[in-house]
């Protein structure tokens, strides 16, 4: 059909344009030039011979991985008549809601700025630059006075905004009827039910081996684990992103995880990448941003207090401060419903040549943001690699957890999916919790916004994030949240207040995620 062919050529053109600006392109070009010296490359069949050379030397595989990466991240090209904002978010009322929310954040940051008389950004004097450079590896020892700073917002503020989202074209009446949603989310997004989830997450089924279940001490490793590790090593040897993504749906062996995630996210640490990270570090040294204080405060409040993550405090500063300076992150706003905040150079208000983004990467951190980085510190110890992995995880997944959009992996859909699953498959529990004033989403929201980081034990968290990568979707977070409620249903049925319900669900550190998910999806009698 002609429309599909035009879609395909448009997609090819977009991917080609994207890749032309990448390191891979220059490397391929260099390799092609160098290959001309090889005896098997003949002038008469130059194109075919070079293509063959790329195939044999593994460069074609690298290109395939890059294309696969682009396909995973970028949405399908939309209709030619659709404006850029349609690609960010197709529903007008959601775009408007995101715009209002952003305005609130900007106002909050501006008032913090004026109240504390601290500039948004300032150039560090040379002495201060030297000092920071010296203690770059131990910024955690610093104890700056952060008492006046407050996080720009916390997840519960964001939840209130989502609860008030309304589709102006959707009439569901003010009074309770069969058409109103019983949960907190009132927008009619399409979410999957359990039969659809079973189809989607088929590799989590009862008949398929899983790490997190079939590698437990009681199960002999010959039954599944050994073979799975062997296959994992083979996947790594082949350096195939798509195969790695398929493989990791059954979980990643601990020893292979760092490499597998890097392969799936298409991160290779080239000298250019290390250089880029060093450049970002220089930017941190040269300019001090107000956002830095927010990052410090967040790390001190969250990761530093966590038994598992406090050892990584210094790494977190090294990653997050650089992240704020990274303008390459701006490109993800093409498919993010959010937009980067804008400012002007002092004295040049309104002059477009002096318009800049603030912070340089356009992302204002909120309370708990550093928890997106913390678990990665277990896998990567080299700062520039850790940085690249985090950045890619952010622009693929994490940004969806704190922006308002209709995307199936966006936080709004996840909330609705959670509530719908609970309401459909645990109606008694749902009703009971509503009756006692403990809307389930009020408890599970913080888990999903943080992708469960800081709530689960780290080995369990990493098994969960394996599946996020494997399925290229965050829906598993909503399914796990529902599975946790299902698991503690008996206790929850006995509580009589929101506080008591929260107490039942306060400690998730002993949970094993894969059995919970498997039982909820595949073994619950419906």
């Amino acid at each position: 059909m002609l429309q599909e062919e035009s879609d395909l050529s448009l997609m090819i053109a977009q991917i080609v344009q994207k890749l032309k600006g990448s390191n891979l392109y220059s490397q391929l070009e260099r390799q092609a030039w160098a290959s001309l010296q090889r005896p098997e490359i003949k002038l008469e069949s130059l194109k075919e011979d070079i293509k063959e050379f790329f195939k044999i030397s593994g460069w074609e595989k690298k290109l395939q991985n890059a294309v696969y990466s682009e396909l995973s991240v970028f949405p399908l090209p939309s209709h030619p008549a659709a404006p850029p904002e349609h690609l960010k978010e197709p529903l007008v009322y959601m775009r408007k809601a995101q715009g209002s929310w952003e305005k609130r954040i900007l106002k909050s940051l501006n008032s913090m700025c004026t109240e504390l008389s601290i500039p948004l950004a300032r150039k560090r004097p040379v002495g201060e630059q030297k000092e920071l450079l010296n203690k770059w590896n131990e910024m955690g020892t610093d104890e700056p006075d952060l008492s006046l700073f407050r996080p720009v917002y916390a997840p519960k503020d964001f939840l209130e905004v989502l609860i008030n989202l309304r589709n102006p074209n959707y009439e569901n009446g003010d009074s309770l009827s069969f058409r109103t949603h019983l949960g907190l989310i009132q927008v009619p997004l399409k979410v999957k039910d359990i039969p659809e989830l079973k189809e989607c997450f088929v590799e989590l089924g009862l008949n398929t081996g899983q790490l997190g279940i079939d590698d437990s001490t009681q199960v002999p490793p010959e039954l599944f684990e050994n073979e799975h590790v062997r296959i994992g090593q083979k996947v790594l040897a082949e350096q195939d992103s798509a195969a790695a993504q398929q493989y990791i749906r059954q979980g990643s062996p601990t020893a292979l995880r760092a490499e597998l995630w890097a392969l799936i996210l298409n991160i290779s640490s080239e000298p250019e990448d290390v250089l880029y990270y060093e450049q970002l570090k220089t930017n941190v040294i040269q300019h001090d941003l107000l956002v830095d204080s927010l990052i410090y405060k967040d790390v001190k409040l969250t990761a530093s207090n966590d038994d598992y993550y406090f050892v990584f405090e210094d790494y977190l500063y090294q990653v997050l401060l650089c992240f704020s300076r990274d303008t390459s992150v701006l490109s993800h706003f093409a498919y993010n419903s959010a937009s980067p905040p804008k400012s002007y150079i002092r004295g040049k208000l309104g002059l477009e040549e002096y318009a800049v983004f603030y912070p340089p990467n356009g992302v204002i951190p909120f309370h708990g943001f550093s928890m997106y980085v913390a678990p990665l510190c277990f896998l990567y110890h080299e700062p520039s690699k850790l940085y690249q992995i985090f950045r890619e995880m952010y622009v693929r997944f994490f940004f969806r957890l704190h922006s308002i959009s209709s995307h199936p992996s966006g936080i709004v859909s996840l909330c609705l999916l959670f509530e719908t699953l609970l309401q459909t498959y645990l109606p008694q529990l749902f009703y009971h919790l509503r009756e006692i004033g403990a809307q389930p989403l009020r408890i599970s929201f913080k888990w999903m916004v943080r992708a469960f980081s800081g709530y689960l034990a780290t080995d369990q968290l990493l098994l969960l994030w394996d599946r996020i990568l494997g399925y290229n979707s965050l829906e598993i977070l909503a399914v796990l949240a529902a599975a946790v409620f299902a698991f503690r249903a008996v206790n929850l049925m006995e509580v009589t207040s929101l506080a008591a319900a929260e107490a039942v669900l306060a400690d998730l550190s002993t949970l094993k995620v894969m059995p919970l998910l498997q039982i909820f999806l595949f073994a619950t009698v419906t």
């Binding site: 032309k20 529903l91 150039k123 927008v187 880029y276």
Partner: protein, 175 residues
């Protein structure tokens, strides 16, 4: 063969419902939009483009003149074309849609569009569809175009966030 925009006049929606519009409380599920073409010369319609707004199904009827002497008759080009797979959820609710000539028998002349809810109207046009056998050369052309655009920008990789070394900012801007 070049394609051009056809000027058209889109009338307001008319609800289809039984009974008196003024007194009846019911909300009709079907609305009709008349589209007329002021130019008299016949044309061959290739594509209709519009942005949907909560229309679930679309039917298009066309009044065709077959010859000078026979009276014009109404022909159904498209019946119940699904725009929203689940009308109770947001999928497809605000999407941009193109309908092509090959999806229905030949369309010439005025249309009678029926749909449940007002939709913002069309008459946009996009560039010619690439010939299947020329996809590769199309890509080359687009590549050349993007090259020209890229050549005028500096590389964004090691991006500068300051203006001439200065990042001394006012407050954040709300616009």
């Amino acid at each position: 063969m070049s394609r051009i925009l056809v000027p058209c006049h889109v009338k307001g929606t008319v609800a289809l419902q039984v009974g008196d519009v003024r007194t009846s409380q019911g909300r009709p599920g079907v609305l009709v939009i008349d589209v007329t073409f002021p130019s008299v010369a016949p044309f061959e319609l290739q594509e209709i483009t519009f942005k949907n707004y909560y229309t679930a199904f679309l039917s298009i009827r066309v009044r065709q003149h077959t010859s000078a002497h026979t009276p014009a008759k109404w022909v159904t080009c498209l019946r119940d074309y699904c725009l929203m797979p689940d009308p109770h959820s947001e999928e497809g609710a605000q999407e941009y849609v193109s309908l092509f000539k090959h999806q229905s028998p030949s369309m010439t002349f005025p249309k009678w569009l029926s749909h449940p809810v007002p939709s913002e109207q069309p008459a946009l046009l996009c560039e010619g569809l690439p010939d299947p056998s020329r996809v590769s050369s199309e890509v080359q052309q687009m590549w050349a175009l993007t090259e020209m655009i890229r050549a005028s920008h500096t590389s964004a990789r090691i991006g500068r966030f300051d203006v001439d070394g200065c990042y001394d900012l006012n407050l954040l801007s709300y616009t």
